[in-house]
């Protein structure tokens, strides 16, 4: 550790780090010019390496042991039964005909009433209103049952994810060793493309709700664990010491000090878990998960943009409602904690009883009467939404295509093709040396080691060239995300009005399933890598924008005032004061943006990005390419971990430099 920090110190003190970076890049360019095309490991679309064949066979072996392996017979089968029952029960309650009735137990009125009641009790009046409007709009879009199926699956997956994730998160919060152990596993779960494990899952958990739920949980558990652990960790040591000095045992300290203080953060974790679960709705539909995802995929088969958009809107509304309600709940917890108990228990009880009473009546009505059970067909505005979306998509494709095509060609030829030629044309060993040197120069020794190991792993996986193609697109997409992130983030951070207008757009970009807008962007940019980049930017930019805006808003008003009174212009204020002071938020935005971009690699494979994304998709569709698909999934994980670690090390170094007052010129 001392050796490590010593080298870090040396590296930081090197007088000309910038020149060294430039030198490394120059060496790379020279190497590319001299050695172009050597040792680049090109591999055709359907070609396999021995490793891919071996992976295929290994997966076959697992398939074959399904009926004999005790793990399946006594363990997984019971988990499957349990999850199936849980989902079916929720479906019977809100979405599927049940108990010999032609409709579910609760109709639209009952569900809307209950959801609004919950929003009122745990959030506030505003979100309760939003909830009511949101649920009614599911019916108004003509998608009540599909929405409820999605909700049922999402809720079950979320509850199970929290049941697993929060205890593990508490453990990770208390134990450094467990935290270190679990972090790479969580990275893996979050970056491994779902397509890779979707088909094998149906062997373990069969076709049905259980597989879909488990697929969703794999993606939704990590935020629950991470954020809970973070909440437990950030409880100040002073508070804990006070508790210990009063004689609290560790268990008491956990229950009475840590958990209550971490409650708000844990609710943020719940929020993120819900969002992650909901983002799986479309992909889970590939293995017969019911709900809105089915509608989107079915519509895509006939390129029916309108219908896909209609269902996409329902998903966005569901996400926004769930997000706002959980956020309001988290704020409420915080306010209550600060203020102590505001309301008497009796007052609260009356409130609860009142709300539940009303909701109960509505539920009873929807149980009994057809008008409250089935959403009235006359109120279906879905066809209008569909036609409008169709017309818009058509207009955009017809009238903008000349400009977008030129734009695509310009960016592709000027940046993407050059970067890709550099990455794929240089021998693998030179790329590795350059990357390790860069990781050392901008990051740390540890980051350099991770980089070396990661790139060697890519070679072993037999997908070097594909990985480099994907890396080039990923870098270009991340740069675009950050350009947008800084520009829009500063704007939103400085103007409340911009925030009000743009926030719903950002939420939509984040939660609208990519499948919905694939057709129009394919029409505009063709089946190209650039289309894949656009899809990634649409998904990743909102996160970056939100984080940058948050950072700009966090700059203390006194500093801003001081600068303004000193005569700084708006431009100076932004470039000299606000952005530098929000630097850690900007770097966080970059690393999150990057992870989000990587999570779209597979979607990119569906629209012409080729490389790793296509390998994964093909592995999902073709039996003999399964092994290669798995290897490609692993390569995406490796890229994610390497880029993340380098970025983090660079952030730490920048922070250390800023706080230590070292200025590097």
């Amino acid at each position: 550790m001392t050796a490590l920090s010593a080298t870090r110190g040396v590296a930081a003190r090197l007088p000309a780090r910038r020149y060294l970076i430039a030198l490394t890049l120059a060496v790379w360019a020279a190497g590319w010019a001299l050695l172009r095309g050597h040792d680049t490991f090109a591999l055709g679309g359907a070609e396999l390496t021995p490793l891919h064949g071996a992976l295929n066979e290994a997966m076959d072996a697992v398939d074959d042991s399904r009926n004999t392996n005790p793990l399946f017979l006594y363990f997984i089968n019971y988990i499957r039964l349990f999850i199936d029952q849980a989902v079916t029960a929720v479906q019977a309650l809100i979405s599927q005909p049940a108990l010999g009735r032609p409709v579910p137990v609760l109709g639209w009125l009952g569900v809307t009433g209950l959801a609004t009641g919950v929003a009122l009790l745990y959030g506030n009046r505003k979100v309760a209103l939003l909830t009511a409007a949101g649920f009614v709009s599911f019916g108004a879009l003509g998608l009540w049952q599909e929405s409820m199926d999605t909700l049922a699956l999402t809720l079950t997956a979320v509850v199970l994810s929290l049941a697993v994730g929060i205890p593990l998160g508490i453990w990770a919060g208390l134990s450094d060793r467990f935290n270190r152990l679990v972090t790479p596993v969580l990275d893996f779960m979050q970056t491994m493309p779902t397509f890779v494990y979707l088909a094998p899952l149906t062997l373990f958990f069969l076709i049905g709700p259980a597989s879909a739920t488990v697929a969703t949980m794999i993606y939704a558990i990590p935020p629950a664990i991470r954020i809970t652990a973070h909440g437990i960790r950030q409880v100040s040591s002073d508070t804990l010491e006070a508790g210990t000095s009063l004689g609290a045992t560790p268990a008491q300290a956990l229950r009475h000090v840590r958990l209550p203080m971490a409650k708000q953060t844990i609710i943020v974790g719940v929020n993120q878990t819900i969002m992650a679960a909901l983002s799986m709705a479309t992909i889970a539909a590939l293995i017969d998960a019911p709900g809105l995802g089915q509608t989107v995929l079915k519509a895509l088969q006939t390129l029916d943009v309108g219908t896909a958009f209609n269902a996409g809107v329902a998903i966005v509304i569901m996400a926004v409602v769930l997000d706002r309600v959980t956020s309001a709940a988290s704020r409420r917890v915080e306010v209550q904690r600060r203020a102590g108990r505001m309301r008497t228990t009796r007052g609260r009880r009356l409130e609860v009883a009142g709300v539940l009473g009303v909701a109960g009546v509505l539920a009873y009505l929807s149980y009994t009467y057809v008008w409250a059970a089935e959403f009235p067909i006359e109120a279906n505005a879905g066809p209008y939404v569909r036609r409008a979306a169709d017309a818009a998509s058509q207009w955009v494709q017809d009238s903008l295509v000349t400009y977008t095509d030129a734009f695509k060609n310009l960016l592709t030829n000027q940046f993407l093709n050059r970067l890709e030629a550099l990455l794929t044309g240089t021998p693998w060993w030179l790329v590795t040396i350059v990357a390790v040197a860069l990781a050392l120069l901008v990051g740390s020794v540890r980051a350099a080691l991770v980089t070396a190991a990661g790139l060697l792993l890519l070679v072993l996986l037999g997908l070097w060239q594909d990985s480099m193609v994907t890396l080039a697109s990923t870098i270009v997409a991340t740069v675009l995300v950050m350009l947008l992130g800084v520009v829009a983030g500063v704007w939103i951070g400085r103007s409340d009005r911009a925030d009000t207008v743009l926030r719903p757009v950002l939420d939509a970009g984040q939660t609208m399933p990519a499948f919905v807008y694939l057709v129009p962007i394919l029409g505009l940019f063709g089946a190209t890598r650039f289309t894949a980049i656009i899809a990634a930017v649409v998904f990743a930019a909102p996160v970056a924008i939100k984080l940058v805006a948050e950072g700009i808003r966090g700059v203390s008003p006194t500093t801003v005032e001081a600068a303004t009174s000193a005569g700084a212009s708006t431009w100076q204020l932004i470039s000299k004061v606000q952005l530098p002071m929000a630097r850690s938020a900007v770097t966080l935005a970059a690393s999150q943006g990057l992870i989000y971009v990587l999570s779209m690699v597979v979607v990119g494979g569906l629209v012409g990005a080729g490389a790793l994304g296509y390998d994964v998709v093909a592995g999902f569709s073709q039996h003999q390419l399964r092994g290669k698909g798995l290897a490609a999934g692993l390569a995406i994980v490796v890229l994610g971990i390497v880029l993340d670690r380098v970025m983090r090390a660079a952030t730490q170094r920048a922070d250390a430099a800023a706080h230590g007052g070292r200025h590097q010129k």
Partner: protein, 325 residues
């Protein structure tokens, strides 16, 4: 504080009261009407039908489901699955039938020959064609483009930002085996294969090609609903002869014609279910399928409506599929 609280209670009481009033004036009750469907089961039971994600398949599945439900009294459970997952369903007992299969020799070997959980139920009557296609405007403008020998002459037309200065050959849905990379090499074509990655991407490319008069050549197949919107024209490569594609690396001929077939689980075949007889007897022509696919894709009917319409219009064909007893 006290005021708001009692106010809230009062409001709650009011709403509850209003609710009760509503209850009193009612409306139609759930279960009073429209139950008693699920027709007379004639020992058919549940029929698990895989639905693979393309419209032609859905047409087959919808018509079979329609007949099984309405005329045989089966309870049909449709499961939306990709091909490979559907085949796995034979092993786990969750899928009874796949009703449009495109070759998939590797899966046949695994599930029919090795695991013996599935059996073939004969051809669907549909003929599958795979090949390279161009939009009709191109054929009008460059009549000799449909001969594969002339492709190099037109390579520069198909240049894009993705194709490294060569012509772009757009490959599509990864569900199908393609020999295109080998074909380009072995036929010495000045083209680069670009993987579009999905049927959506391919169709959008061809649609834009026709509309914007933009040259596109790519991998496509029939029967396919899109061909009734834009009648793509196939480019002729050296004709297929038995065994010319034996070595995938050396292949230099066109794709073989495909006889699309039906696969059922062994268990289902042995069950004696009338639904099995229906699946086994089911055959129709490309035109039949294209018609139902058109109802779904262009006339935006639901699969059920489309099937019901076709079944009503073609009673004789349907009759031939039914069990004789």
């Amino acid at each position: 504080m006290a005021v708001t609280r009692s106010g809230k209670v009062r409001a709650a009481a009011l709403v509850t009261g209003a609710g009760l009033l509503l209850t009193a004036c009612g409306g139609a009750k759930v279960g009073e009407t429209g139950t008693a469907s699920t027709g007379g089961a004639k020992g058919c039971g549940t029929f698990n039908l895989a639905v693979n994600p393309w419209v032609g398949y859905e047409a087959n599945a919808a018509v079979i489901a329609q007949v099984a439900e309405k005329q045989l009294g089966c309870k049909v459970v449709k499961k939306d699955l990709k091909e490979e997952v559907a085949w796995q369903g034979f092993a786990t007992g969750e899928v009874d039938a796949i009703v449009e299969n495109w070759a998939h020799d590797d899966l046949k070997k695994k599930y029919i020959d090795d695991q013996k959980v599935a059996v073939s139920a004969g051809p669907t009557g549909n003929k599958g064609v795979i090949g390279w296609y161009v939009a009709p405007w191109m054929v009008k403008k460059y009549p000799d483009i449909t001969d594969g020998k002339n492709l190099n002459k037109y390579a520069s037309l198909f240049k894009t930002s993705e194709s490294d200065g060569k012509g772009q050959l757009l490959d599509g849905d990864p569900s199908f085996v393609t020999n295109d990379a080998a074909l380009v090499k072995n036929l010495k074509l000045d083209y680069k294969v670009v993987y579009a990655g999905s049927e959506t991407a391919l169709i959008t490319a061809f649609r834009q090609s026709e509309k914007q008069q933009k040259p596109v050549i790519g991998y496509f197949y029939e029967p396919q609903w899109f061909l009734s919107e834009v009648k793509l024209v196939k480019v002729n490569l050296p004709a297929y002869t038995e065994g010319c594609d034996a070595d995938p690396a050396k292949v230099a001929c066109d794709y073989p014609p495909y006889e699309l077939d039906k696969i059922v689980s062994k268990k289902f075949a042995d069950s004696g279910s009338p639904a099995y007889t229906l699946v086994k007897n089911f055959t129709w022509t490309n035109d039949d399928q294209n018609l139902v696919a058109k109802y779904i894709a262009e006339d935006k009917m639901s699969a059920e409506e489309a099937a019901a319409k076709w079944v009503a219009d073609n009673p004789d064909k349907v009759k031939a599929w039914l069990p004789t007893s």
